[in-house]
């Protein structure tokens, strides 16, 4: 029972380890660019209400963005490429339960997300030390851990659902660019929602990502646009919802190859 689960988890990890250079170099370059353009150049002109330097504000946002994007990417592309090559059928005819499949894919995706978030952190720390002369501290390690786990898994589960329902690569990329991307950008990665007009602040509160990003930021900096208990609750609820969604899509969705 356990062996089957661990094997699938191992496969998921080996899959991204095969492209480890790409896994690590891409976020290295992109976080470098984000930090250079937004953190350093634009950041000098940004004044935040609570007095936090913009660079400190940006780093946890970028980390969370890296985490959820990569978790989503990893689980969804695993399924989508299996559908393309046909080995999705293999998964359906071996003695694995839906639950095992979801958790193995979820944890594999989470690990990839964490890896990329750590690369982002490393680049961020170098910038932080360069610009402000101090390392970026971690205010609440347990909160940080919580939001890392919940955020990564939540988006891994979402990736599973979307991939199971999608009928082609274009469905997946449409979802990424029309749903995921706007939500991340409007979820407070780059800006504090407090700088928005009251109307848009209300709209932002409907974005589940806001709670994850701010919770994570609270774990790192000790400040957040959203009340922390609210963040904890909303993200946990989100995790449950997306887990159930993944279960449904596995039992109803298609194991047919494309």
């Amino acid at each position: 029972m356990m062996v089957a689960f661990l094997t699938l988890l191992e496969r998921e990890c080996r899959r991204f380890m095969k492209v480890i250079v790409q896994t690590v170099v891409t976020p290295f370059v992109s976080s470098f660019l984000y930090l250079l353009v937004f953190g350093v150049s634009l950041g000098a002109a940004v004044e935040l209400k609570n007095g936090v330097p913009y660079l400190s504000f940006l780093v946890p946002g970028l980390m969370m963005m890296a985490l959820i994007n990569n978790s989503f990417q990893n689980s969804s592309s695993s399924i989508v490429s299996s559908k393309f090559s046909g080995d999705i059928e293999d998964l359906a005819v071996v003695p694995l339960t839906d639950n095992q499949i979801i958790w193995a894919l979820g944890l594999g995706a989470l690990l990839r997300g964490v890896l990329v978030a750590l690369v982002t952190l490393a680049v961020g720390e170098v910038f932080h030390d360069q610009q402000l002369g101090v390392w970026l501290p971690v205010a609440h390690p347990l909160y940080l851990l919580y939001f890392t786990l919940v955020g990564g898994l939540l988006f891994a589960f979402l990736g599973i659902s979307v991939a199971f329902w999608s009928k082609g690569f274009e469905h997946l990329s449409a979802f990424s660019s029309f749903v995921l991307l706007p939500l991340t950008y409007l979820g407070g990665v780059f800006i504090s929602v407090e700088s928005l007009s009251p109307f848009w602040q209300q709209v932002s509160r409907l974005n589940p990502l806001l709670y994850l990003i701010n919770g994570f930021r609270y774990g790192m900096l000790g400040v957040s646009d959203v009340e922390i208990t609210q963040s904890l609750l909303v993200s946990f609820l989100g995790l449950l919802v997306f887990y159930v969604m993944a279960r449904i899509s596995l039992s109803r969705g298609s194991f047919q190859r494309w």
């Binding site: 029972m1 062996v3 089957a4 661990l6 094997t7 699938l8 191992e10 496969r11 080996r14 899959r15 095969k18 490429s81 299996s82 090559s85 046909g86 080995d87 059928e89 293999d90 359906a92 005819v93 071996v94 003695p95 694995l96 339960t97 194991f255 047919q256 190859r257």
Partner: protein, 298 residues
């Protein structure tokens, strides 16, 4: 609950609709331990659909499938441990090597250290020297063999082979036949679909012939041949040249000649081709099985 005989595979009045289209319309057959059962039929007959229901990829509309007595619909997880399957379509998984894929497959079946079995299969299927290649680097026939190896890592007692020899060259096909005979000797039950009827005739103890989702005939291969095929007698006579006569298999040669009005002294040469499964198959499907099995063609 306890049955006197539990067959490796039992299909009972199986039906499958895709929307309003009836792909399988009441199939019943069983595969017995240590036998090779051939599920034969033209394209679209419902062979793959039937196998997909056994492997839980598809759900039956009605009817039952039991693997070693276990209902596929009720306990899919348990059933999945019992069989190995080679799908009709080639699988192309891009990331991993042959050996890695076999290790993963073993792992899914709960076998962590399965090196010996994997090595045995790699050797047996002529894949040992290709074990470090990725699937993409294999030829079509090698991919097919890899799929067979994957189906066998956990030593299943029931093997489902959906056209395993399609696109495989003749030497390799013969190797596979030997391999299937070995499996049979080990007591493994094999369900085989194929469009090569000589292959079916050679390998299968029993065959079922399906057409449009229905079983047209089922039984021991030799019986099916006997029942539906004709023998072909090719005559070369001095007076009227070559002549082909079809006749029921059990009809004595003397009677055939007499009925055809051929004087044995007039014969230059005579050849008799025994009935073939292919003939039985064709006659079953074209529906002229009711017509007399006799006839002459010049």
């Amino acid at each position: 609950m306890t049955q006197p005989t539990t067959f490796p595979l039992e299909v009972i009045d199986l039906k499958k609709n895709y929307g309003s289209f009836e792909a399988v319309r009441g199939l019943s057959f069983e595969v017995r331990a240590g036998e090779v059962f051939g599920l034969l039929g033209p394209n679209g007959a419902g062979k793959t659909t039937t196998i997909s229901i056994v492997t839980t990829l598809e759900q039956a509309t009605s009817g039952q499938v039991r693997v070693f007595g276990i209902d596929v619909a009720k306990n899919p997880l348990l059933v999945k441990r019992q069989f190995g399957v080679v799908h009709q379509e080639i699988i192309n998984s891009g990331f991993f090597t042959v050996e890695e894929l076999l290790q993963f497959q073993s792992g899914y079946h709960g076998l962590r250290r399965n090196g010996e079995r994997i090595r045995y299969l790699l050797n047996k299927l002529g894949l040992y020297e290709h074990r470090d290649k990725r699937v993409k680097q294999l030829s079509g026939g090698m991919k097919r063999r890899l799929m067979i190896a994957k189906a066998l890592v956990h030593s299943p007692r029931l093997l489902l082979l959906d056209e395993p020899t399609a696109g495989v060259d003749i030497t390799l096909r013969e190797n596979l036949w030997d391999f299937v005979r070995d499996l049979k000797r080990e007591g493994i039950a094999v369900l085989l679909t194929t469009h090569y009827l000589e292959e079916a005739e050679l390998l299968c103890d029993r065959v079922g012939i399906v057409n449009r989702g229905r079983l047209e005939a089922i039984g021991e291969t030799s019986r099916i041949v006997h029942q539906f095929a004709r023998k072909k007698v090719i005559l070369d006579t001095r007076s009227s040249g070559r002549k082909e006569i079809f006749a029921p298999i059990e009809k004595p040669l003397g009677d055939i000649l007499r009925d055809a009005g051929v004087d044995p002294m007039d014969l230059r040469d005579i050849q008799v081709e025994q009935g073939r499964l292919e003939d039985a198959f064709r006659r079953l499907l074209t529906g002229d099985k009711a017509a007399p099995a006799e006839g002459a063609k010049a």
